[in-house]
Symmetry: C2
Subunit: 541 residues, 2 copies
């Protein structure tokens, strides 16, 4: 028997309609690619999103077809989020940090029909457009008179001219809430990038659960600055959760240096900022280097990579709480958030910092488990480490173009991370699954071994990898780059592990090299190291 | 094109599974009908909810069939919320304050199969059970040895004996999230009560949106006391939102007097309490009368009827913020919550109190509008008053048993209230639609007229009703009961309105009576007054 409640599908356009109707005067402030600051309200944004939807209709783009963006965080990108998804097309956010080859491959895989780009990416577009045969329309996100001549891009339109001719009203369609809304590709460190195809339902449930008090606590009290790019997993969902809750929204454009971010925080009264650790290091360096302080910022959300205790302490010195999150492109992205519960209020500051640096607890909607090689669930004792599997309505089931292949194992998505979970449900990632060293049935965390090496005064970079071993299956090998002018003594470095880990976890050998290969996102490419040292002769210790 | 995210229906059992798995050690504390205090954890509650589901299976109750409760707020009622709805049956919460006749009518209308009751309601059950032929099983919420002999109720079982024989594990079914989960009847001040049939989807979306920071801000930081009964619109959703967020849950049982509620707040460290104004008046009287203070309470949620400024001030004196909500059985119940936004932080305390006493803003998911008699939407200027219509995924579409009749007008549910909405989206109820006086095309709020009369030192009770008028259609008539020993002078009372309302809003006449008819819920029965004074001769003023 069905209930007798109203049947409204959850659709992305409802978020902006709500923002415009119930928080219509709240501002959206954008530092533009042009350098100046643009400001308007949710009500204004809705009217321009209507124009965008009408302009897309006029191009004859079919429901479900992809419209790509190559753009910084700003009001025009925000309008595309709603005009594209709201009118039942799919917003495909491209990462401008990729190479032209990667971009062309992704645009072809996604079969994009339209590509909208900030003028700062014109050279990139010029480099790829001949390799993007699926793209029929190129739109530069600028005024008509700012459009450069002779770009070589056929039929290039300015965004403002494109939408200006359209009426400022639009009747949003109602359709299945499981319809595709947005597409984002993984970074693809192994193999080709894979497309994650979000739905209206997943985006709205993610926005609701992600705004709960123990998640980001998004509300009309906040002025939120998503420094995290809108091409990076939907800007962590902030473009959805802000109009949903009536938060003031501040977009930084391309200016992500410490001074620019700081000035925007201060001038707009930002209370909550969201970004990756590297951006915060630059911000903190600027603030510390110039004897500044934060007058409005209360919370800094850190994600994308693990948050170091030093960053928690540095923000705390300014009265700013760190909100440490973990997620994935495949998770929309929210997986867990670090969490100081009522029971932990009595912990020392240092213990609280340790807790904040864990990946944390899931909100309602996500479930997680850790499993061993046989798929058996491991206990939540904070000690047992296993492959981390997740599930929930905003977790991927299949990849775009690979609909025939279930991305799950028994209904759970394997994250590729190795983690522990403590009795309170706090998850901590200890390694990547492919990097963990499996020795004699036990797992050794490569990250733990590397962190100890990095604490040694002579070590600049450290990588710990597994090398095959006839008796133990795998044994850890440590590869280090010395600090400039320093010398690493193999035996002394191995002795440095005494008392820090169990004896059987100490690496079997140390190799000193001049350089370690890093990928495009700054991560050590351990697959290359594993290839190179596959036949390394381990000494008999 | 559908998105490629995991397809999990939103089902009520997921809330308790989440609470047990991720907040498993968090306590549920209940003051029992037996008088003592019972405590256990979400993990324990889940195991007993499994037993309940197995016990229902064993009775052969079909999916969609109704299982009724006549119970106070406590852990057994909480287990029924999950065991019944989670196993795809419908939980029908009965209001024990109804008369036996009303109860029998509702049980028959709902076609209830099982009725579970607290022992304090045994006399009521004894009075109605012969008139409830649909009920096949009667369960007393007690231990086996507490079951009275010779009750006259056939096959009466104790709850503990009923579930004790069952296994403490259960495989929850997966089904359509739009399936019915719970049934609650309106008070039915006009005509018979009407059943509102909630769905799993409506309950979960309501729990998510209702827990947002600008809604109730439910979180693992809170210790929540729902004084509002679980038979009154699902206890405002607290039994769902608490396990969803990991809040500690405290149930008051039948002891709703000021001392009992205060003692429980203090002994359990309650931070958020939810109830109707009469309960809070008793609590505040106890606290003020005994020179006490609140050591943990931070927020008091007030709903059910409008919150007076004096209550906001009284709680503020103890450092407790009032959260003023408005809703309806037909809205699950959350409609609006009073809201102090960033722009209002600079208002004076008095102005903030006025704002808190408005009904407030909608969370995402609810939309509202005010319309005139022709159905035309009226402006949000804080002045224009119109019929309040609402819509959203947790708003009713049809009533139980009346599936053929749409309860909506053009897709919007007419609340029966008259309201204004200010430019910030703050809604304020000015009257009930049926009570408003429509004079010469203008609307006069009966509540405004009554509030002025109540400010007169001689007036104890005031009711303003419309009487037919040949020229103006309707004109206001004021009916008052004097305070003991006081005399109401008709002319002086009418002069008391000078400068307080427009001249055309002043009542045409005053009738002094000894008593005014009140209904079961303490509300003035204006329909009886309108019948009685239909032919009242208005003087030519």
């Amino acid at each position: 028997m069905l209930g007798l409640m109203q049947d409204h599908p959850l659709l992305i356009w409802q978020l902006l309609e709500h923002g415009a109707r119930h928080h219509g005067h709240v501002e959206i402030v954008s530092r533009r690619v042009e350098g100046d600051v643009h400001r308007y309200t949710y009500r204004d944004a809705l009217r321009r999103a209507y124009r965008v939807a009408n302009a897309i209709d006029a191009l004859g783009i079919e429901p479900g077809e992809r419209i790509a963006t190559l753009a910084w965080n700003g009001y025009r990108h925000f309008e595309l989020y709603y005009g594209v998804s709201g009118s039942e097309r799919v917003l495909h956010t491209l990462n401008p940090r990729l190479t032209p080859e990667q971009l062309a491959w992704i645009v072809a895989d996604a079969d994009d029909r339209v590509l909208c780009f900030d003028l700062s990416f014109l050279p990139l577009v010029q480099a790829v457009h001949t390799r993007c045969p699926s793209v029929r329309h190129w739109i530069a996100l600028c005024e008509g008179d700012a459009l450069p001549k002779e770009t070589g891009i056929p039929n290039l339109l300015s965004y403002e001219a494109w939408i200006d001719a359209q009426p400022a009203h639009y009747a949003w369609p109602e359709f299945d809430e499981r319809s595709a809304s947005a597409l984002c590709y993984t970074s693809g460190t192994t193999g080709n990038p894979k497309g994650v195809l979000y739905s209206h339902r997943s985006a709205l449930l993610h926005a609701l659960a992600g705004s709960l008090p123990d998640s980001t606590a998004m509300s009309a009290q906040e002025c939120v600055l998503p420094v995290v790019p809108m091409f990076h997993v939907n800007g962590w969902g902030v473009p959805y959760s802000a109009p949903m809750t009536g938060a003031k929204l501040v977009f930084p454009g391309p200016a992500l240096d410490g001074k620019s971010v700081y000035d925007l925080i201060e001038s707009e009264g930002v209370t909550l900022a969201a970004g990756v650790p590297t951006v915060w290091l630059a911000l903190l360096a600027h603030v510390n280097g110039n004897g500044l302080r934060f007058s409005s910022l209360r919370r800094s959300m850190v994600g994308g990579s693990a948050c170091a205790p030093a960053m928690v302490d540095a923000f705390r010195a300014f009265g700013v709480d760190v909100l440490h999150g973990w997620g994935m492109t495949e998770m929309s992205p929210l997986g867990t958030l670090s969490h100081i519960g009522p029971q932990q209020k009595s912990l020392s500051v240092e213990q609280q910092t340790q807790l904040i640096c864990k990946q944390g607890k899931v909100p309602f909607g996500v479930d997680m488990k850790i499993v061993d090689d046989a798929g058996t669930e491991l206990p939540w004792d904070g000690i047992a480490a296993g492959d981390l599997h997740v599930r929930g309505p905003w977790v991927v089931s299949r990849y775009f173009g690979k609909e025939g292949i279930d991305a799950r194992i028994d209904g759970w998505f394997p994250t590729g991370d190795v983690a522990t979970i403590d009795p309170d449900g706090n998850m901590q990632i200890t390694d990547r699954s492919k990097d963990v060293i499996k020795s004699g049935g036990e797992w050794i965390s490569s990250i733990d071994i590397e962190n100890i090496a990095l604490a040694h005064p002579a070590v600049a970079i450290a990588a710990c990898i597994a090398v095959p071993h006839p008796k133990w299956d795998e044994r850890p090998l440590l590869i280090v780059v010395p600090k400039p002018g320093a010398t690493v003594d193999r035996r002394a470095l191995l002795e440095f592990y005494a008392g820090k880990v169990a004896k059987w976890q100490v690496p079997d050998d140390v190799v000193v090299v001049d350089a370690i290969p890093l990928g495009a996102t700054g991560k050590i490419q351990k697959n290359l190291l594993r290839d190179r040292f596959r036949d390394h002769a381990l000494p008999n210790l």
